[in-house]
């Protein structure tokens, strides 16, 4: 692939984004791509906004992108999709989890959780919505939400040539592998 592809993953601290980007980059590297990934972390507390950027192609220079440059935005939380949407290419795809996590101004009643996020996204962008929480519960563990989203990301990017099951096996504790494979496959189907 001559052109570099840009993936932006966003969500809330504690949702398991870093693990997904780690497995994503591991798979891309195995497939022979040059890969760069940038994550912003450093605050230990849970609950802040978290982003990671993954870029892959023949030769990648910058590890970060600017506005209007992501080919795909995967949002682990609904409102976060709208926060980062400016980074998506106008013709790009947003994959959004319907899961809501209220931020502090919402929890304390100073602001309201926006009701029209999905409609607003759909109006401007190619939007794929899914309920990763429900899928994870069906699989048997709500904590596999991130892996459901991982599957959805792989599907949206058409990255079928990579053996993702093997990547899951290599990166997860052995007793968690089977349930996560199910979650991943669920994500591929959604």
């Amino acid at each position: 692939m001559k052109v570099t592809k840009n993936i932006l993953l966003v969500g809330v601290g504690g949702q398991g984004i870093i693990l997904v980007s780690k497995m994503l980059t591991a798979g891309l590297m195995k497939a022979g791509y040059d890969v760069k990934m940038s994550e912003v972390h450093g605050m230990a507390q849970r609950g802040g906004s978290v982003t990671t950027q993954v870029r892959f192609g023949e030769k990648v220079y910058s590890s970060i992108i600017g506005k209007g440059q992501a080919d795909i935005l995967v949002s682990f939380e609904k409102m976060e999709a709208a926060r980062w949407i400016e980074y998506l290419k106008p013709e790009g795809t947003v994959v959004v989890n319907r899961y809501e996590i209220p931020s502090m101004p919402i929890a304390t009643g100073k602001a309201e959780y926006p009701q029209n996020v999905l409609e607003a996204l759909e109006k401007e962008f190619k939007t794929v919505t899914l309920d990763a929480g429900q899928a994870a519960i069906e699989v048997g563990n709500i904590r596999t939400q991130n892996i459901v989203l991982f599957g959805a990301l792989v599907k949206a990017l058409n990255l079928n040539e990579i053996d993702w099951i093997e990547i899951l096996r290599e990166n997860l504790p052995s007793k968690m592998v089977d349930i996560n494979i199910k979650a991943f496959q669920k994500g591929l189907e959604l």
């Binding site: 809330v12 990934m37 802040g48 906004s49 910058s62 590890s63 409102m79 926060r83 998506l88 607003a120």
Partner: protein
Amino acid sequence: MKKLMSGNEAIARGAYEAGVTVAAAYPGTPSTEILEHMVDYKENIYSEWAPNEKVACEVAIGASIAGSRSLAAMKHVGVNVAADPIFTYAYLGVNGGFVLVTADDPSMHSSQNEQDNRYYAKFAKMALIEPSDSQEAKDFLKEAYKISEEFDIPVLYRVTTRVCHSKSIVELGEREEVGFKPYTRRLDKFVATPANAKIAHGVLEKKLKALEAYANTSPLNLAEYNENTNIGIVTASVAYQYAKEVFGDKASYLKLGFTYPLPMDMIRDFASKFDTVYVIEELEPFMEEQMKAAGIKCIGKELIPNMYELNPDIVAKALLGINTESKTVDTNVVARPPVLCAGCPHRGFFYTMSKKKNTVIAGDIGCYTLGAMQPLEAMDSVICMGAGISAAMGMAKSFEVTGRDTKVFGVVGDSTFFHSGITGAIDVVYNKGKMIPVVLDNSITGMTGHQENPGTGKTLMGEDTIALDPVDVLKAIGYKTVAVVDPCNLKAMNDTVEEAMQATEPYAIVTKRPCVLIKGLAPFKTKCEVVSDKCKKCKMCLKVGCPAISFKNGVSYIEQSMCVGCDVCMQVCKFDAIVKVGEQ
């Protein structure tokens, strides 16, 4: 072997390959993982968390004098704390190679300022090396030790958040067994008396001249010419990656990895070949100023901002006028500020203080800085590590002089207390300050991701060790009363604060309860739940600012997946609408 590594991981690997034997640091984003990964090589490298950056730096300098290749690592503001020894060590020169890693944080992702530490190289007269990705972060470090030993000079190794926390593919190498330099007593070299320093300064100036000559031929500085280009770009660090992304083969590049002293002949020669010369560097015009002073025509900060981090987009806009098209959507996105975790032990103290009138609270840096956020807002100042106590001392003295009867509290965490809170506390006792030091002891260095510190009983390398108790330290330095309190017990917390405000003798408070995110620790056995029928909608429980609590369908609601059961909210509810659930 190839491996995907962050810049910090790669620096640790580089230290291993370069034959380093001693490494010391104090945690600080974005530098922390350097020493965390150094432990991967504990067979070969002794590494430690020092109580602060000055100590870390001096430990590494001592090891260098003794003959080891050594490394100290810290975030940019940490170098301010460590500045004293480095200025003099530059005069003295090294025995084993010495590298100081400074991790700068353009855009202040997690810092209180975005100072550009390249100026420290010029100021303290050290060599400066700047890698631009993980491969370079590893490889250039090996070169840094050669330079340090060959030119007898400390090396400042400057990385930024995007070098530290970006991952890219690294080809690993073998460890070079460099052994130790022989150690003998050398009064003329390592004893910085005025007489020795006078001579050393002259020698240092000569070393810098020799280094500039070296810089012009250094393998770290490379010109990349592309055909038919009339734009020449002088760049360093991660800005190089952004320049390549934007200009591709439409420009030629002088990519500098060795940036102080600058290879001025090489730059002049490169610049002379182009109609337009851009200097692309993040933050301050460090290279640009020196180039302009040397009479080289170039364009830099006229067009490129000297604030915040760069990215390809900003470079393209500034130099080519290209605006990448982007769209927003029509919805009201609500801010998501960081908050103290559900069950955080700091909450009880700040909730208590949020109710106290006529008090001033000098804060400090750590998770507990979030006590300044809504809805707690129980803080008046945050400056730098340690100032929580010493700035409070100054406030109290000012109020005393001006006859204002406001009570002043100075708040630090346990790691911050050991870092530089202790000296402030001594000042308070010694100079009869009327302020109340408060140490929020959560048994960990929380903010930077849970590192051990002198109070935790464990070393970086995982050994058991003495656990210093801030209570004992405060007593030893002269506090008559040191009240120890569980901050999650609101009544006890309030009583302690009230007593402290009445005290006439030196009185200090130490709150004790571990951070709820410490691995393997399950501090509470039950969770809390709202009995909807009993909830009177008074919203008092929202005032504790716990992210697990929100209003749902008109009543208070506790998200069970987040609640850890600290029961602070339960103590606040006057209507017994919050109850404990689960195993008792």
